[in-house]
Symmetry: C2
Subunit: 189 residues, 2 copies
């Protein structure tokens, strides 16, 4: 038990995990808490896919890397360019060896999807931290286009992956990266 | 002090406030905690504008209502259409009489702006709840186009308002609206 201020400091982006599975029931509890997030017009457009399978996690990593490398080839001015070298490393897994990946997804047509799923993702990461688990939002793992893989993970054609989150027991909890002072543009009083 | 699970239940969308100002120092503390949210590449693109002035809050409400009503006129098929009747009520203030409005904003050019600011907004709402304060993300208050008003509140031309959040001491804490069971599309194990 800790205050919210303490929990904020406990939630770090974790990229090194113990070789230890996360029980499905715990992932489900965290997802249940994520669904307490607010959403536009209480529409709760979020859906979840849980991947606990090492082989599938590797396939998803390879697929996402491939799609991103194609994009960089097409638009060399892309901000993704800076990841090219890392993505070209054969053994580099964008999911950092986490035992579980959770995709927060939803219908692309929903205007508020990005924001609603980000709110649920934030609850997810804090809920995990409150249970001693580590997470990281891994944007590099979101580019899944192959229809076969999409089908295997149950991702409908018209759904978009908003938040790919890795989940596991932290081996190393990193120090918080430096934060700028809050940028308050104006106080109108 | 409460667990995160308890805090989740305490954070409700509040739309009825006591006639009591929120001390600036408390709003600043909440903003400081909001800045502990993760962001893409740790870029922290969020900026904040604090409005404690009743007259300005009314002007912002009127401006946003006007812009939205114009949009509805131009595209009658817009999902905003269902708010038309409410927005036409002269005395309806989109900020529900809250003593404070905080805008979370940032440079429109930043691809991850929506998601990063939503993460900060989520921290904001939880941090406020942990202090007994009520909040609500009021999307209807985000349409501020008038250059004069934008200048008065210190909002740069190329910045976008992502999250308009009202803040105050709750007069009524509503029951949580019904939540659907978590929609888990698939577990791949």
């Amino acid at each position: 038990m800790c205050t919210f201020s303490e929990l904020l400091m406990k939630r770090r982006s974790v990229r090194e995990f113990e070789k230890r599975e996360v029980p499905l029931s715990i992932t489900e509890e965290i997802i249940k808490e994520s669904c307490c997030a607010p959403s536009a017009r209480n529409e709760q457009p979020w859906h979840f896919i849980i991947i606990n399978n090492e082989t599938m996690i590797k396939r998803l990593s390879d697929e996402s890397k491939g799609v991103i490398l194609e994009e960089i080839k097409k638009s060399p001015g892309s901000p993704l360019k800076k990841y090219e070298e890392m993505l070209r490393i054969e053994g580099f897994n964008v999911f950092w060896g986490a035992p579980t990946v959770v995709y927060i997804v939803g219908p692309e047509s929903k205007g508020s999807l990005q924001v609603d799923c980000a709110l649920a993702a934030s609850y997810f990461m804090l809920s995990a931290a409150s249970r001693g688990l580590g997470t990281c939002w891994v944007a590099l793992g979101s580019c899944i286009e192959d229809p076969e893989i999409r089908k295997e993970i149950g991702l409908p054609d018209d759904y978009k992956i908003v938040a790919p989150i890795i989940l596991g027991y932290p081996r190393v909890i990193p120090e918080p990266p430096p934060r700028e002072n809050p940028k308050i543009l104006k106080v109108v009083s």
